[in-house]
Each structure stands twice: as C-alpha cells, then as structure tokens.
C-alpha cells in the first residue's frame, strides 16, 4: 500500500521536473541555437546540428568589418542612456506630485498617462515625423531620443509613482517641519531612498529604448545613424538569394548578450518593476 503511494509520488515528481525542463528548453533553445549558428561558417551552416561542432569567430569579425555596426552599438547606447536620464528626471518630480500631493485632477492625470502608454506607435508616426523634421532632427539621434519619450516617460512616471507612494510619511513630515522645500524633499530625502526603484525603472526603460524598431526605422536614413535593431534587420547578403545567416546570428548574439546579462543580474528587481508597472498600477 505505502509502496504504491511512493511510486505515485515519484511519478508525480518526475512529471513535474519534466515540465520544468520543458519550460527551460523552450525558453532558452532559440538563443542557444543562435549562438551555435554564429560559430559556424561556409557549408557547415546548412547542416543542422544540435551540439557545438566547431568554434569559428569569422562571423563576429565580419559583422564589424566594413560596416557601421560598431557605430550602431554606440548609437543605441547613447540614445537609450539619454532617454533613461531624461525620463527619470522628468518622471521623478512628476511622480512626487502624483504620489505625495493631493490635488484636483490627480486621478485623471494618472489615467491620461496610462492611456499614452497604450498609444499605438504608428498612430503618432506621421505627426511625430513632422515635429522631428520641423525641429531639424530627422536622421539625428536626438530625434530618436525625443520620439522614445512617448513610451518611456509614461512608464517611468507610472512606476516611480507606485514606488514613491510606498515611502514612509514620517520622513517627509519631519523634513517639512525642518522647513525643507519640495525640491529639497525630492532630491535630498526621497532620491537617496529611491535608488533601487530608480535603477529598476531606468533598466526597464533602457531595455525598451534599446529594443525599439519602428521609430528607429522611420526616423533615420543613413547607416551611421541607425540603432542596432534596425542594423540587424537590414543585414543582407550580396544577392537576394544569399542571406548571411551566420553573420546575422553573430550580430543578434552581440546585441542580446549584454541585455541577457543585465536581466539575469537584476532579475529580482525586474520582476518587481514589471509588476509595479502593471498589476499594482
């Protein structure tokens, strides 16, 4: 009797670990296969292998040789960092007002911000194109910084407001009694306490900006001004029928490895940031 229960339990446990293994393989396999492919060259590419057979860095070299890929990476780093900085600066003061001050129209403001984050990007494409061209920022990285604020800013304000609401009231009251101004409260009292929240929010905004494609594709024209997603999407072979899959996979791996590393290092924070942006909102 007790033995049959043990077998049943063992089977259940095995099934559970099989499910977990399936989840891991399903999640990781495409990335693993991209890495595998990126180390193959020539005719090896067209033989399906499940395990590494050779390590050939040629694809990684040719991604950079005679292309603007190095510049593209730099572009992405600059645009994403600038977007994060501007969003955090504007978002911090806005979040203070939304989280700590009771004023008329606060609920409406929060809803308006949430609505902007739901905008389909294509709905502002022609209008934004006009604004960017009017400001002389077409094919200019600053134009992308401006355009990306449409999705990073509402998100930043929303998440920082959630975090700012959790700050203890006593600290703020003590600061007011000491005669501190609102700006002092934000930058001297809350800012030091909010570092973890700022890092989380900034990281999520950075990833969103790094991955953006539609605006980058539409608002830039020359190779040198492109960001990495557009660069990867536009890699092509010498003829229409020859697609350099090895090089495309090498570029994909280069673009992805820093992100995956960041996400793995900060995974706990990222989960809390994502849920602050959605569930608790």
């Amino acid at each position: 009797m007790s033995q049959s229960v043990d077998v049943k339990q063992l089977l259940r446990k095995a099934a559970f670990y099989l499910l977990v293994a399936a989840i891991v393989v399903f999640s990781v396999f495409p990335f693993y296969y991209a890495i595998l492919t990126s180390f193959k060259s020539g005719s090896e590419l067209f033989v399906v292998d499940y395990w590494p057979t050779s390590v050939d860095w040629a694809n990684y070299l040719s991604v950079f040789k005679g292309t603007a890929f190095g510049e593209n990476i730099l572009n992405s780093v600059m645009v994403s960092s600038a977007v994060v900085l501007v969003s955090l600066m504007l978002g911090l003061t806005a979040a203070f007002a939304l989280a700590r001050i009771d004023f008329r129209g606060r609920g409406l403001m929060l809803i308006a911000i949430l609505s902007v984050s739901m905008f389909p990007q294509v709905a502002v494409l022609s209008g934004l194109f006009e604004v960017i061209r009017g400001l002389g920022l077409y094919n200019n990285l600053l134009g992308l910084v401006l355009a990306y604020l449409i999705f990073t800013l509402p998100f930043t304000v929303w998440v920082l407001t959630t975090f700012m609401k959790q700050m203890p009231k006593e600290v703020e009251e003590a600061a007011i009694l000491d005669g501190a101004s609102n700006l002092t409260i934000i930058f001297r009292v809350f800012l030091p306490m909010m570092w973890p929240a700022l890092v989380t929010t900034g990281l999520l905004a950075f990833i969103a900006a790094w991955n953006e494609f539609l605006f980058a594709l539409t608002f830039t024209l020359t190779d040198a001004q492109r960001t990495v997603p557009v660069a990867v999407a536009l890699i092509s072979g010498s003829s229409q029928h020859e697609l350099p899959w090895g090089v495309i996979m090498a570029a994909s791996v280069i673009v992805t490895v820093p992100l995956v590393a960041l996400v793995l290092v900060f995974q706990r924070r990222i989960v809390s940031g994502l849920t602050a942006g959605a569930v608790k909102g």
């Binding site: 989840i23 495409p30 978002g91 003061t93 806005a94 294509v122 502002v124 022609s126 991955n211």
Partner: protein, 305 residues
C-alpha cells in the same frame, strides 16, 4: 500658515512639478496624434507635408461612378484588420494558458527555482527584432532546425515553408510571439500567486480536496484581477504589433497587421493621408478598448487609485 493655505500651495506646486512631463508628452504624443488625425482628412504626401489639402472623408470612404473607394472599401485593409484580431485572440489565449502553467510551476518550491525563473526571462529580454531573426533562421524552409526536428519525430514528411506559405505564416508569427511574451504573462501571474494567503491551501489539503478543484475554486478567483490586467496589457500590445511581422514575413498580405499596413502606406507609398487614416482607425480601436479597460478597472480593480 494655516493648514488649508498650505494645502492649496502644495496643490499649486504639484502642477509645477508636473509641467515638464506634461509639456513633453504633449510634444511627443498629444500634438503628433492630433496632426495624424488631421492628415487623415487630407491628401498629404510624405514628399511635401505642407502641400496637404483638406479632402474630408475621402481617405475613409467615398463613392465615385457607383464604386466605393477609401479605407473602409479596401480589401487589403480589412484583411489586415482580420489578421490583427485573429493574431491577438489566438496568441493571447495561448499566452494565458501557457503563462499560467509556467507561473504555477514556478510557484512551487523546488531546487533551482531561481535559475529557472532567470531562464524564463530570457525570451522577454531579447529584442523583438532579434527574436524574429533567430526564429526565421529556425523556421527556414530548407535548413531550418524546426523542420529537421519535426521530420526527425515523423510529424511531417517534407520540409514546410513556414514564413512563405499563406496558411502557415500566421502560425509562425503566433508561435514566435507566444515564445516571446509568455514569460511576461507568467511573471505577472506568479506575482499574484505569491501574494495569496497560505492558510486556505492548508485547510483544503487537510480536507483532502483535489488540487485541480482547489485551483478552479480558490486560486483562480483570487488571482483573477491580476490575470485580467495581464490579458488586457498583452491584448493592447498585440493589437499594435509591428516589428515581429515586419521582419518575419515582411509585407506579405497573409500576415499584415494594421500597424504594418499603416506604415506601408505612410512610408513605402508616401501616402500620408491614407496611411494616417489607417493609423487613426487603429488608434480608435485601441482607445475604445483602453476606455473599456479603465472603466472596468475603476469598477473592479481600483486602477489609478
């Protein structure tokens, strides 16, 4: 200073603190949206936006010589609407079910849970454009590993042209999207699961109630609000899909979404008037759903409070 005058002063300063953010959003969202809606009533072309002339509803619908023209009479646009809705419905359903399974698995305490959670985050972290490229290689009709696997286990006898075949390309798009966004769903649901009170589960265990019954009677109702938020977020995201389809199946009409259609008109065909009409239509669909969501959210979940 009296209590109420300090209150009023604080309220005034609130608007001062919000002003930079509001101005920025008006510049990058409010004004461009109004201009897009305006362009949809003009014959604007990308080459010279200033030469745009007002043409009324012409981009949407008009009749000439007994024939209807405009967006609402455009079979390709309707195809894109249909594609977008099919894609949203099927992919979000799959993501909901798979996300729930992953969330329930990750909610169990087992050795290596942290590692598995990290692995699950990887698809979410990979740029959409890169995952589209990775998958188009895996889905390659001649050298793709997916065909190799399916043939290896005997499910298919000849390689399939995943991204080129009219019947298969939507399946391919949905497959990649499910892979990419299931982690997001799973994490939101996991967060909800971890906030559940433990005691009612112990009570159910003592009473010997079957776990499946406990899930449908206790767990699901309790995490329903979080599930609904996750579904709405994903659905609104799926409705505006662009990158994945643009890269995986380019401009094929079989998978063209509303965003891909609008951008093609705007940029490739330089027809800003017509493209703006298509963009405005998509905006209206999403705005209506957002309003419905906010209404329901206020009623049931106190969103924004």
């Amino acid at each position: 200073m009296s209590q109420s005058s300090r209150q009023r002063q604080r309220a005034r300063s609130a608007w001062l603190f919000l002003a930079p953010m509001i101005c920025t959003l008006l510049l990058v969202a409010g004004w461009p949206l109004l201009r897009t809606i305006w362009f949809s009533f003009t014959d604007a072309s990308l080459t010279d936006l200033n030469a745009a002339e007002f043409i009324g509803w012409g981009n949407y619908l008009y009749k000439e010589d007994g024939e209807w023209y405009g967006l609402l009479a455009d079979a390709v646009w309707w195809k894109s609407v249909w594609n977008t809705l099919t894609f949203t419905l099927i992919s979000v359903s799959f993501e909901l079910v798979l996300g729930m399974i992953v969330a329930l698995a990750l909610n169990v305490n087992f050795a290596g849970r942290g590692l598995v959670r990290a692995a699950v985050l990887i698809p979410w972290a990979i740029p959409t454009i890169v995952s589209a490229k990775m998958w188009s290689w895996m889905l390659h009709d001649q050298f793709g590993i997916l065909n190799d696997m399916l043939m290896g286990v005997g499910l298919i006898s000849a390689p399939l042209a995943w991204t080129a075949d009219a019947d298969l390309s939507m399946v391919a798009v949905i497959m990649v999207d499910v892979w990419k966004t299931t982690p997001f769903m799973a994490l939101l649901m996991l967060a909800a699961l971890q906030m559940l009170p433990k005691d009612c589960y112990e009570a159910a265990k003592v009473d010997g109630i079957h776990p499946v019954r406990v899930f449908f009677r206790v767990t699901l109702p309790l995490i329903m609000p979080a599930v609904l938020v996750a579904v709405v977020f994903r659905a609104l995201d799926a409705l505006r899909i662009f990158d994945l389809i643009y890269v995986l199946t380019s401009n094929s009409e079989d998978t063209m979404s509303m965003s891909v259609f609008a951008r093609q008109q705007l940029v490739d065909f330089q027809d800003v008037g017509y493209g703006s009409a298509a963009s405005t239509a998509l905006f209206l669909v999403i705005a209506l759903l957002t309003l419905a969501y906010l209404y329901l959210g206020r009623k049931y979940m106190r969103v924004g409070d």
